[in-house]
Amino acid sequence: MMAGTKVRQETVRQGIWVSVCRVDQLRVDVGVAALVGGEQVALFRLDAEEITAIGNLDPYSRANVLSRGIVGSRGDTVFVASPMYKQPFDLRTGCCLDDPAVSVPTFDVRVLDGVVQVLAPPVSDGPDG
């Protein structure tokens, strides 16, 4: 299963691949948080094959908690419900299902030799780097 793990990688983005954990540390539908290049990321394993990553920051409560939400589905969409005030975010697009104007960032994920890697965005030149 490790060898065949497919990861989401629609758009080609730039950055550095950061190893965060082994695939077998992730349980289906139970999120974890990771620190990737100073960013807080929420990782979700949707099934044997698919792993996604979104920002951990809940835009509604401004707390870093999305990794601790419950994973669910609406039709074919897989979402995580923020544990704070329950808004659902699409795990593949980062969009809030209840308010299309709100979204969280998504990150590219890949698995190499059973190790999960997240693409850290290039370091911005913002004040806090």
């Binding site: 540390q25 990771a34 870093n64 419950i70 994973v71 589905s73 609406r74 419900a81 704070m84």
Partner: protein, 855 residues
């Protein structure tokens, strides 16, 4: 012109006297008359009808003349002064203070006085009547040192008085000689329905009970003896057996009085002396006295009109009454006893909900003659005008009183018809909530209608009508009322519970694969987790269930606004040793946690980060504490009062029982959170009746109440069984709680469950106490299983590396604190600083609070 001015003397400044003066000023009578008013009470007229609210609002709020005088200089108001004689020949009145005043016209508005039957002992200290503010002040004073109060008389006023005594915190009895309550307004069945409501509130009703004497020791009341029954021990007696028109002055000066009392007047309210009028409760037009204020007001208007040369008449009054007695709707109007020859009665009675409705109709069923409504008087608004105006009845008059669910009581309801009289919500408003709008989706359940419109949130009597409107409206729009849990399960929680039990399903994956669709969601996952927990007592962080839990359960703490958690160790019954207190204090100090006493008699430590939780709990567990389940839909606390051990009033050891119950039910997962309380006497310091289960000690044992809560929609717990010994109490509680767990809907507190379950409290009592379903043994066995398998979730977690592995801040940096969490200091403790880097305003929870309502 001044020599032409005449003088009018008014005796009595009660409600009707005041109205008379108001009308005299407004209609210009004072242009030609000087008015002198003598009132016996120390204060100006006040709202006697609302007398009972005196305890809540005080005397000022009740006053009808807050300024203390009229702003017309031609009216002189003399208070605290009784008129003692009337000299009709000299046309003079003399007051107790010796003042003599001549009159050209005299108006008597002396009201009535409570009748105190000539019983032995009626003069003992502790006997009261219920008529004036002074009476209530005296009662309040006496209640301070009393535990029990008896009201003699179960009529309208007696029940009001009982309500007041009950509110003063006394164990309350009502003793009525007639075979039913409110004998004048209700028939036997209506009275019986009312008894059930009132007893549910904790007032004991004795009907057909003739008081023989009031016993006393040292001049103070101690008991009431009743013919053919046990005496009632009491510290306080309130007489409310009726009123006597205050006609003594009239009798003394030879004015004619009615055979059964009251100053006889004609339709212009004039007495046998042409210069003297009588109005209000002291007057007897046509020989009949009226114990209500509205007819008195009408009489006051008639006299002013006549003095101005008008032709107003008093021609009798409608004695219809609608009132809310201790929260129970009661209405009676027209010919309630079917005295009209040939009249027919239509009766609807529901023993379970205590609703009783009777219509009296003409023999051809075309006209409504009268009726009685107990428990649900929502139809009063429609029915009473039918009597008054003689509007013909609809085809099937019985539909007017059938509960909305069964009949179509909405016939003829327009959009303006008020459905919820407590909150004044119209049918139109409810229908728009169901239909929804651009901004807001329509309501598909009663809970939603309640939160959108407030209908049904006060007395609840309109809920059946609301339900019916909902069903009708949805059906006509082609929408369905669904009890599906969510898009993944087409079943209700109860159906799922049964399914899991019957098929012995042990995981969510298996359940959804066989009986659902998709991967579940934040609604069905925690619901199923709770069902599994209730049935298996497995650790909630077990492999199969950990992903199903809300974050509070998943981290065994309560998530706070900045992503940290709070820690609440269990403090059973609120009893805590000094060492325990110090241990908690030390943990709080060492981890720099914000510390607060909760509303549940224990201590909450806030601001713990995920990775700190195991360290904090290690310390607490070592000090002998265990999880308080503040995070779970499970037993929270059993609040105690100090009870017999210390309290001079306590009659049982309430603290001990509270601890025993809290330990017994700790960790029990349920559809919503569960709270309990145990009070050591009827003073109820543990607020047990505000809990899902509440126990109140009596001399004989324990009274058990269920279905109370505070929160969004507060509910008072209602009596399930009384005078139980401890073993029976626990047995009933085991059954009650398990029955609730088995059958309630998701996020339904016990009060809402009792409301929604068919047959309500009476049904639940029949299951729990009488075991009509034959499941009592099963329920008890389930509970025994839970108790046997209980383990402290935190110590079990600390002993299990795999579970502990989840308590990290970051999977790739387990001990690095979340850099976004920061605190500031306030009043010597930490608090979350404003959301980090938030230039934009912080979006907080939506304005509606999602409490309990299944969605």
């Amino acid at each position: 012109m001044t020599h032409l001015r005449q003088r009018l003397v008014l005796i009595g400044h009660g409600m009707v006297g005041h109205r008379f003066v108001q009308a005299a000023i407004e209609r210009g009578l004072t242009e030609r008359w000087d008015v002198v008013v003598f009132g016996q009470e120390p204060r100006a007229a006040y709202d006697r009808v609302a007398l009972t609210s005196f305890f809540e609002v005080g005397a000022d709020e009740l006053s009808l003349l807050p300024e203390g005088e009229y702003d017309d200089p031609r009216v002189r108001l003399v208070l605290d002064t009784a008129v003692t004689t009337i000299d009709r020949d000299a046309r003079e009145v003399t007051t107790a203070s010796g003042e003599v005043v001549r009159y050209d016209a005299l108006v008597m508005a002396t009201g009535s006085v409570p009748f105190v039957p000539p019983l032995p002992g009626r003069d003992l200290a502790g006997c009261f009547v219920y008529r004036t503010i002074e009476d209530l002040e005296d009662i309040r004073q006496a209640a301070k040192t009393a535990t029990t109060g008896v009201v003699i008389g179960g009529g309208l006023l007696g029940l009001e008085a009982a309500n007041a005594v009950h509110q003063l915190g006394l164990a309350t009895h009502v003793v009525e000689m007639a075979p039913r309550l409110m004998p004048v307004q209700l028939d036997q069945a209506g009275g019986a329905a009312l008894v059930r409501h009132i007893e549910a509130l904790g007032v004991t009703v004795h009907t057909g009970a003739a008081t023989e004497a009031i016993e006393g020791i040292d001049g103070k009341v101690t008991a009431l003896t009743i013919a053919d029954a046990e005496p009632i021990e009491t510290d306080l007696v309130v007489f409310s057996v009726g009123i006597r028109p205050e006609d003594a002055l009239a009798r003394a000066c030879g004015i004619e009085v009615a055979e059964r009392g009251g100053i006889l007047v004609d339709e212009t309210c004039r007495t046998s002396d042409k210069a003297i009028y009588a109005i209000g409760e002291c007057a007897a037009p046509d020989g009949k006295v009226y114990g209500l204020v509205a007819p008195g007001y009408a009489m006051a208007e008639v006299v002013v009109d006549r003095l101005l040369g008008g032709s107003g008449d008093f021609t009798g009054a409608d004695m219809a009454t609608k009132l809310k007695l201790m929260g129970v709707d009661v209405a009676s109007f027209g010919d309630v006893f079917a005295a009209t020859p040939g009249s027919l009665e239509l009766v609807f009675a529901d023993a379970v909900t205590g609703v009783y409705k009777k219509l009296v109709v003409s023999n051809d069923a075309t006209r409504l003659l009268g009726g009685i409504l107990v428990g649900d008087a929502s139809a009063y608004g429609v029915l009473r005008p039918m009597v008054a105006s003689g509007i013909p009845l609809p085809e099937n008059p019985e539909e007017l009183i059938l509960p909305a669910g069964r009949g179509t009581a909405q016939v003829g309801m327009t959009d303006e018809t008020v459905v919820c009289s407590c909150e004044n919500v119209t049918k139109g408003t409810i229908c728009s909530a169901i239909d929804g709008s651009e901004e807001k989706p329509g309501c598909a359940d009663v809970a939603c209608i309640k939160s959108c419109t407030k209908a049904g949130t006060v007395c609840g009597s309109c809920v059946p009508t609301v339900k019916n409107l909902l069903a009708e409206r949805l059906a006509s729009a082609g929408r369905e009322v669904s009890n599906a849990l969510c898009e993944h399960f087409a079943m209700s929680r109860q159906e799922l519970f049964d399914l899991v039990a019957v098929k012995a399903i042990r995981s969510f994956t298996a359940l959804i694969a066989a009986h659902g669709t998709g991967r579940g969601c934040d609604i069905c996952k925690p619901a199923v987790a709770s069902i599994l927990a209730s049935q298996t007592s497995a650790h909630i962080l077990a492999e199969e269930t950990v992903g199903l839990q809300d974050t509070n359960d998943a981290f065994l703490g309560n998530l706070q606004r900045n992503g940290t958690y709070s820690v609440v160790p269990r403090v059973p019954g609120g009893e805590l040793t000094p060492d325990g207190l110090i241990a908690i204090g030390e943990v709080a100090r060492d981890f720099d946690l914000y510390t607060k006493i909760t509303g549940g008699q224990r201590i909450d430590l806030f601001g713990a980060r995920v990775e700190q939780l195991p360290l904090i709990w290690r310390r607490l567990v070592d000090a002998g504490f265990e999880s308080g389940h503040a995070y779970g839909k499970s037993l929270r606390t059993v609040k105690s009062c100090v009870g017999q051990t210390w309290c001079r009033y306590g009659v049982q050891d309430s603290t001990k029982l509270a601890i025993e119950l809290e330990l017994r039910y700790r960790g029990l997962r349920s559809p919503h959170k569960l709270k309990g309380g145990v009070s050591g006497c009827a003073r109820e310091c543990a607020e047990a009746r505000g809990k899902d289960f509440g126990v109140i000690a009596t001399e004989k044992g324990w009274n058990l109440y269920v279905g109370g809560n505070g929160g969004f929609r507060p509910a008072h717990a209602v009596e399930l069984a009384i005078d139980l010994d401890t073993a029976t109490l626990i047995r009933y509680l085991d059954r009650f709680l398990m029955f609730y767990i088995r059958t309630a809907d998701r996020l339904q507190r016990t009060s809402a469950w009792l409301e929604s379950i068919e047959g309500g409290l009476d049904y639940v009592r029949s299951v729990v106490v009488d075991d009509v379903l034959g499941v009592a043994a099963d329920l008890e066995a389930d509970m025994a299983g839970h108790i046997g398998a209980y383990q402290d979730e935190w110590s079990a977690t600390l002993a299990d590396e795999e579970k502990l592995a989840r308590f990290v801040s970051f999977i790739n940096a387990p001990d690095t604190p979340d850099p976004s969490i920061s605190f500031v200091t306030e009043r010597g403790q930490i608090r979350p600083s404003a959301a980090e880097g938030s230039a934009e305003p912080v979006l907080v929870a939506s304005a509606s609070i999602p409490v309990g309502a299944p969605r």
